[in-house]
Amino acid sequence: MAWNDVSALWQDIALTVLFLVPALLTGALVLRGYAPWPLVRAILWRFRGASALFVLLIAVSVGMGIGLLAQERGLRRGTAQAADKFDLVITAPGSELTAMLATVFLQPADMGLLDGATWDEIAGHDSVALAAPLAFGDSFGASAVVGTTLGFARYLADGQITGRPWQAEGEALIGALVPLEIGAEFTPAHGVGDAVDDHAHGDAHIRVVGRLGRSGTPWDRAILVPIETVWEVHGLANGHAPGTGRLGPPFDAAYFPGAPAVVVHSDALWANYALRSEFTRDRETMAFFPGAVLAQLYGVLGDVRQVMSLMALVTQALVAASVLLGLFILSRLFRRQIALLRALGAPARFVFAVVWCFGAALLLSGALLGLCAGVGTASVLARVVTARTDVLVAAPVGWTEIHFLAVFVSVTLLLSLLPAAIVLRQPVVQGLRS
C-alpha cells in the first residue's frame, strides 16, 4: 500500500475522531466516576416500546441520508468509469454534452460527420495510439448497433472476447448483456427507439461471432459491427477503394463516407491535452474529454449535493430533536424515580448522566442501525440504477457518510444535554409526592 493511501486513511480516521470529539468529551464529562448502566438499562426496558420506535425513526432518517449520499457518489463513480475508455473524443462542432452522451452512454443524437481528410489527420497523428471511428444510428431491439473497428472492440473489452473477433463484413461482436447467442443472426433496424424503421435494412443479415467481456457501461448492451458494414447497409462507400476487400483501418480518405465521432487514445497522458488543443478548431472539429464534461456536470451538481447533505443533516437533527422532545415527555413518567435518586443523595450530575445516557443510547443505536440501513438502501438503489441505465453503480458507504454520521452523533448528543438539564430542574419533593 502506498504511503498516500495510508495517510488518506488516517486522515479520514482522524477526521472521524475529530467530529466525534464533542460527543466523546460530553460523554466523558457527564459520566466521569459514575456507572449508571443498570439504571439506564432499566429505563430503556421500561419504555421499550417507545425506545424501539425512537431508534427506528432515527435509523430510517439516518439510513436515508446515508443511502442517498452513498448513491450519489456511486452514480458519479459509475458514470466516470463508463467514460474511462474514452480519453478524447473528436466530433463535428456542437454540444460537448450531446456528443458525450452519444459516445459514452449511447444516447441517440443527430451529429455532424467528420470527413476523410480529418480522419486521416487524426489517425496519422504521431501521438495517437488508437483512433476509432464510431457510426451510430441503427439498432436491434434495445441494443444500439455501432459500427467501429476491431481495435476499438478489443480496447473496449480489454481484449476479453469469447467466441472470435469478426473477420468479415456482416459479423458482429455483442456486449455482455445483449440477449443474443453467438451464432445468432439478426437484421438491424434503421433508427433507435420509437423512430425505428424495421424494414429499411431488410436484406442485411448480421451474424454474432463473439461476445465482449463485461465493462459495466451502456456498451454492454451494444452490438459492435465493422464500420464498413454500417456504411454499406446505408448504401455508402465502405471506406476502401473498390476491390481491395480490406476490413478496418487504414481507410482511404476518398472513400470515407464520414463518421459522427472518433475516439482517440494515446499512451502518453500529455498527448491527450495536446491533441485536444490541436483538434479544437472553429467550424471544423471539436475535441473534448468526456471525463471533463462529466466533471463539469458534477460541478453543477456539486452544489446540489452540498445542499442535499445539509438538508439530510438538518432533517436528521430535526428527527433527533423530536425524539429528544419525546424523551423529555417520557422523562416526566419517571420523574418519581429521578426524585428518588435525589432523595437518596445522588448528585445532580448523576441524575443528568442517567437521562443523558438514555437519550444517547437511543441516538447511538439509531445511528448504528441507520448506518446498516444506509448500506442496504445504497445497495438496493445501486442495483436499481444499474438495471435501468446499464451503468455499473456500486455504492459502498464511504468515509463521507461515516463523517456525516459522526457529525450527526456529536450534534444530537450535545442536543440531548437539554432534556437532561430540564429534568434536573424539576423539584424533588413534588416528584416524590406525585
Binding site: 449508571p36 443498570p38 439504571l39 438499562r41 421500561r46 428518588l340 445522588a346 419533593v429 416524590l432
Partner: protein
C-alpha cells in the same frame, strides 16, 4: 455501626405558594438513636417536616444533624450529606421494577466513588439477609409482595450505613399482618444499629413502638411526648 445522629431544629419555617406557612417548628431536639413517630391529620405538615429534616425542601431556620446545619448548604451539598447520613423510605417503596432486589438495595453504589461501591454492596446484601431476603437478591422486585418490597426499600435506605432513617408512611400500603412483621423487622434493625429513626405514620401500632411521639396539626408541633412501648 457508630450509632445515630442527634438533630436539633430551631426557628424552622416552611412556606408554600403565596407565603402561606406550611410548617413552623420553633424548637425541637432529638437524641441520637431515638425512635420518633410523627402523627397528625392529613395535610397537617408531617411529611413537610420529614422533607425539611432531609433538606429536600426550601425553608428558613436551622436543622442541625450533629454538627452540620444543612439549611445553609447548597442543594448539591445537601445531596452529599443525605448520601452519607440519611436513608429514606416511602409509602409506595419507589423501587426500580426492572432491577433485582440486590441492585435496588445497592442503588447508591451507582454514584459512589468506585472504592466505596463494593462495601456498599456488601452492606446492602447484609441488610437484605437481616430482613429475610438473603436468598432473593437476584430476583426482580416486580415479583415481590408489598412487604418484601418495603424490606428492599429499607435495605436500600440503610445500605450506606446512614445514622439517620426517615420514613414516610412505611406501612400504609401493607395489610395488617405484613405491616406488623415489617414494623418488628424495621425496629429490630434500627435498634440494632443505633440509628435515629423519624417515621411519619397514621399507623397506631407503629406509633406504639416509638420512644417519642410528635403530633403535628395545622403546621405546628402541638405535642411532644414520650410513648410507653407496647412490648418489653
Amino acid at each position: 455501626m457508630t450509632g445515630g445522629l442527634p438533630v436539633s431544629v430551631s426557628g424552622l419555617c416552611v412556606t408554600g405558594a403565596g407565603g402561606r406557612v406550611l410548617l413552623s417548628v420553633s424548637s425541637l431536639a432529638l437524641p441520637p438513636g431515638a425512635l420518633v413517630g410523627v402523627r397528625g391529620p392529613s395535610g397537617a405538615g408531617k411529611s413537610t417536616l420529614l422533607y425539611a429534616l432531609a433538606g429536600l425542601i426550601a425553608a428558613r431556620g436551622r436543622v442541625c444533624w450533629g454538627d452540620t446545619d444543612i439549611m445553609p448548604l447548597s442543594a448539591e451539598k445537601r445531596a452529599r450529606f443525605r448520601a452519607g447520613n440519611i436513608g429514606m423510605i416511602f409509602q409506595d417503596f419507589l423501587l426500580f421494577e426492572e432491577l433485582g432486589a440486590g441492585d435496588n438495595a445497592a442503588l447508591s453504589a451507582l454514584f459512589l466513588p468506585r472504592a466505596q461501591r463494593r462495601e456498599l454492596r456488601a452492606r446492602a446484601d447484609a441488610r437484605l439477609s437481616a430482613l429475610g431476603l438473603g436468598n432473593h437478591a437476584g430476583r426482580s422486585v416486580a415479583s415481590f409482595s408489598g412487604g418484601e418490597r418495603q424490606r428492599v426499600a429499607i435495605a436500600r435506605a440503610m445500605a450506606s450505613g446512614a445514622p439517620v432513617l426517615l420514613a414516610d408512611e412505611p406501612t400504609a400500603s401493607l395489610d395488617r399482618g405484613t405491616a406488623d412483621r415489617l414494623t418488628a423487622d424495621l425496629i429490630g434493625l434500627v435498634r440494632g444499629n443505633g440509628t435515629t429513626l423519624v417515621v411519619v405514620t397514621h399507623d397506631a401500632r407503629l406509633i406504639d413502638r416509638m420512644d417519642r411521639v410528635l403530633t403535628i396539626a395545622d403546621g405546628a408541633l402541638v405535642s411532644d411526648e414520650a410513648a410507653p412501648h407496647g412490648l418489653e
